[in-house]
């Protein structure tokens, strides 16, 4: 499995609403008995670091709550990390991560999970970026004399 591909889906799953993830993943999940939980959802902290001036030395800005979970499905080890304290979200990501690594599960999940989530995320971001761009100032110059 290519790291960049896995990085991409883990990021996408973390950026998607848990309710939507649950909806799309539902039909792909194996029976609960086939999932072995190495770590049920656990909430903790990540210290956020910034850089002075945006590009200088690092400093500690403050913490963020993060929930993580790990499970094993048919020999594939899945990990879920997501900001916030939503146990279900972290466990859904872990299950999706395990399934996505399985070459047999990947194609249907790519089409029925990743693709719609990707489109919806892009649409949300585009909507927000276009709404912000609508508030861009258009300066006009008053010409005096000739």
């Amino acid at each position: 499995m290519e790291t960049t591909t896995r990085q991409h889906w883990l990021s996408l799953l973390a950026h998607s609403p848990a309710s939507r993830l649950a909806e799309l993943l539902q039909q792909h999940l194996p029976p609960a008995g086939d999932i072995s939980w190495l770590r049920r959802a656990q909430t903790g902290l990540v210290m956020l670091q910034g850089r002075s001036g945006g590009s200088g030395s690092r400093f500690n800005l403050g913490e963020i709550s993060v929930t993580r979970a790990s499970c094993q499905i048919a020999g594939w080890l899945g990990h879920g990390w997501v900001r916030g304290s939503d146990d279900e979200h972290a466990e859904l990501i872990a299950q999706a991560d395990a399934l996505l690594q399985n070459p047999q599960c990947y194609p249907p999940l790519q089409a029925q999970l990743l693709q719609p989530l990707q489109q919806e995320l892009a649409a949300r971001r585009e909507q927000s970026a276009r709404a912000a761009a609508a508030s861009k100032v258009e300066f006009f110059t008053m010409v005096r004399g000739e």
């Binding site: 883990l10 950026h15 200088g56 030395s57 690092r58 500690n60 913490e63 963020i64 916030g84 912000a132």
Partner: protein, 365 residues
């Protein structure tokens, strides 16, 4: 003699009931949901997260509800809860250059690459009370431009940096791990990373007053708002079990790059210097105040005379935390009965002595 005083359990339990009843108010009115607080009081939520030093909208909304809207009390609740959670990791440094910008303004250049984007700001409102909000209000739809704000949006300061007119902002050699005030006590002199962490957690009112003082002449500060940007930034971590970086979601941040005049020193040519502010959520006032105070605290490093309160590290950093400040001011409510009895008897003795010596002096006369 030592007298142990016990009692008051019943009174304390009754005070909890009164507090809960006062919090709820008139039960004929609908109760506030956490979702409503998150959505409709988002700036209060952001402030509680920032000063509580924990980014979690749901917990901050709960803290605000529990504290009946008292920001400092809500900050205290969040800080206390934070201590119950394990620390998993540190994030990769937040990349504010890659921010999905919803607002970006510059007070230094009219024509900045990407333009001035106002976003959801109260700056251009008349500050007239809108009585229509007293009833349920309909929100007009937001216009959409044909294309979105570019991402990444170039930074305003790059214009000055390209000409070498502003000090470079680069990591120290080896990009050292910064000190962490949640694990090590504040020591002086504090380096910039420590100061920035302290200022990030600092009470907004405290920072605002100090920042204002630098503008009114209590520091050699000639600031310009080089750039203020607000929007979403992804959070990246490198979990041990994965061994590579992943994004775990995005957060809203406000960043302020303040530009200050600097006449130069023996080692540095005349150039602009920087003050930096970064805060959770939409928190422009906080980010700007933080940037001004960050710059004023750099006085010594830049060879400026540090005579103003906002330039003095110990004064600024020791008094910035509103949980500590609130605790120490309010601890005066706790029983000081024995201390006070001692003071009282001292005053009585002194008065008795003063009276008797006055009588003696009168007798001499």
């Amino acid at each position: 003699m030592y007298v142990a005083v016990k009692g008051g359990e019943t009174a304390i339990a009754r005070s909890w009931d009164l507090l809960a009843a006062a919090r709820r108010g008139d039960s004929a009115l609908a109760e506030l949901s956490l979702g409503q607080i998150r959505q409709q009081l988002r700036l209060a939520v952001a402030r509680v997260m920032q000063e509580g030093s924990l980014y979690d909208e749901e917990l901050a909304a709960l803290a605000l509800k529990q504290a009946a809207g008292d920001t400092v009390e809500a900050v205290f609740l969040l800080r206390a809860f934070r201590t119950t959670l394990p620390r998993f990791a540190s994030s990769k440094p937040l990349d504010t250059a890659a921010m999905r910008v919803r607002r970006r303004v510059s007070g230094t250049f009219k024509d900045v690459p990407g333009g001035q984007i106002l976003g959801p700001t109260a700056d251009y409102t008349q500050r007239l009370l809108d009585f229509s909000l007293g009833d349920n209000s309909d929100v007009p739809p937001c216009a959409l431009a044909d294309s979105g704000v570019p991402q990444p949006l170039p930074s305003v300061l790059e214009v000055l940096a390209a000409e070498g007119l502003i000090e470079a902002e680069q990591p120290l050699p080896g990009d050292p791990e910064p000190a962490d005030l949640t694990r090590q006590p504040l020591m002086f002199p504090a380096d910039r990373a420590t100061r920035l962490q302290n200022l990030a957690r600092a009470d907004e009112g405290w920072l605002l007053g100090l920042a204002y003082s630098t503008q009114r002449g209590y520091a050699e500060s000639h600031p310009f708002a080089g750039e203020i940007r607000m929007g979403e930034v992804s959070v990246s971590v490198c979990p041990e079990e994965l061994g590579f970086d992943i994004d775990i979601g995005e957060i809203t941040l406000t960043e302020c790059q303040m530009i200050n005049q600097f006449a130069g020193s023996k080692t540095a040519p005349p150039q602009f210097t920087r003050g930096y502010g970064l805060s959770f959520g939409e928190a422009e006032r906080k980010a700007m105040a933080m940037a001004l105070v960050d710059r004023s605290l750099r006085a010594e490093e830049l060879g400026e005379a540090a005579h103003a309160p906002a330039q003095q590290q110990e004064f600024v950093l020791y008094h910035s935390d509103n949980v500590e400040a609130s605790g120490f001011v309010q601890h005066l409510k706790l029983p000081h009965y024995v201390d006070f009895q001692a003071e009282l008897s001292l005053i009585r003795t002194l008065r008795a002595q003063a009276t008797s010596s006055a009588v003696q002096e009168a007798n001499h006369d």
